[in-house]
Assembly symmetry: C2
Homo-oligomer: 208 residues x 2
């Protein structure tokens, strides 16, 4: 983060750098507490205390507990985002769009099933609507939608991406894994099958 | 509900008929209160009072608030279930499986979008896991899975049915309608497109 080029006021600059320091401190404290005791046992009060920052600052910075968790989710997701946007194929660029889609879903489902995955633990704590509207949720959707288009799918990529992701979201995948005891491999195979069915061409489309 | 054939005790029979009467009374009171003030404003206490039944009986009968709402959901869904299992085509029998699948999703999405739909209002109040594991949730899944098989889909019907229904559940459909302002017609068109893509044959399946 750099100061704006027209910034000449040392006071304003110092204020901004205080704000950045506070933000980083709060995120660090939150990440540490979440790792130590699990995200569901961490309160805003404890985060403020551990960061040595006032509770008012914490709320000003992140709005509410969901806001803090979403910011932390963004940090936790940076590595995965790097992997699917610019890492090695088939998750990253270089493989055909269809293979990248399959790899993306496989990785997503594997992460949902991993108890130690911080991003998954955080995402699960946030309401469905806010999670989907978050930077991470929107990045997932954009990625899937773009790959469907690149794979030559003739259709409403935006909605088909939502449909694919609805199968791999926490509500669906957790229910299937935990309540129906569906193995992770079967969920991943279903994702791959859905991608195959969505991306295969069917000559001409029948009139609606 | 009839007495068991070997029932000879008038006392046990009277007890059972009391239990049935209490159950019906409680469901009637709950339905009336839900219609009057909306499901989110109805407490167990009020239902017991309106039914003239002890709160202990209410909890014994339904376990908890979710249990009562699920029982009410079962009653509210009876008409829809009748329509898709034995009503006129294309929702009911007589139309090709693919058309019945399309009609089922259209009807489901229309109901989710209808503010006055009691079944939808009730279902929305119950946690995802319990809703899906309920009689209604399992009946939906069985119906979709059976139609996929009847439509000649070569694949994991059970999982593909979960995938289709994940697109039309409350979490996904409400998010798309309310947060993304997607019109109901576009959600229904996407369901129809998914059914089309899932049920079209592709000659031979490539090796996995």
């Amino acid at each position: 983060m750099t100061a704006a080029p027209d910034d000449t006021s040392d006071g304003a600059s110092a204020q901004r750098s205080d704000a950045v320091r506070n933000r980083v401190r709060l995120l660090e404290a939150a990440a540490r507490l979440v790792a130590e005791r699990g995200v569901e046992h961490v309160t805003m009060h404890e985060v403020a205390e551990a960061a040595g920052v006032g509770k008012g600052t914490l709320f000003r910075r992140f709005g509410d507990r969901d806001g803090l968790l979403l910011a932390l989710l963004g940090e936790a997701e940076a590595e995965f985002q790097e992997a699917y946007t610019s890492g090695p194929p088939p998750l990253g660029p270089g493989a055909p769009a269809k293979d990248r889609l399959t790899a993306f879903g496989r990785a997503l489902i594997e992460r949902i099933a991993a108890d130690a995955d911080l991003g998954a633990a955080l995402g699960r704590q946030v309401l469905h609507e806010r999670r989907h509207a978050s930077d991470t949720g929107r990045a997932f959707h954009r990625h899937v939608s773009t790959l469907l288009r690149k794979a030559g799918v003739d259709g409403d990529h935006d909605m088909l991406a939502h449909a694919l992701l609805a199968f791999a979201n926490f509500e669906t995948a957790d229910y299937l894994r935990k309540e129906c005891e569906v193995p992770v491999a079967r969920l991943q195979a279903t994702w791959a099958d859905l991608v195959r069915r969505l991306t295969r061409s069917d000559g001409k489309r029948p009139p609606d």
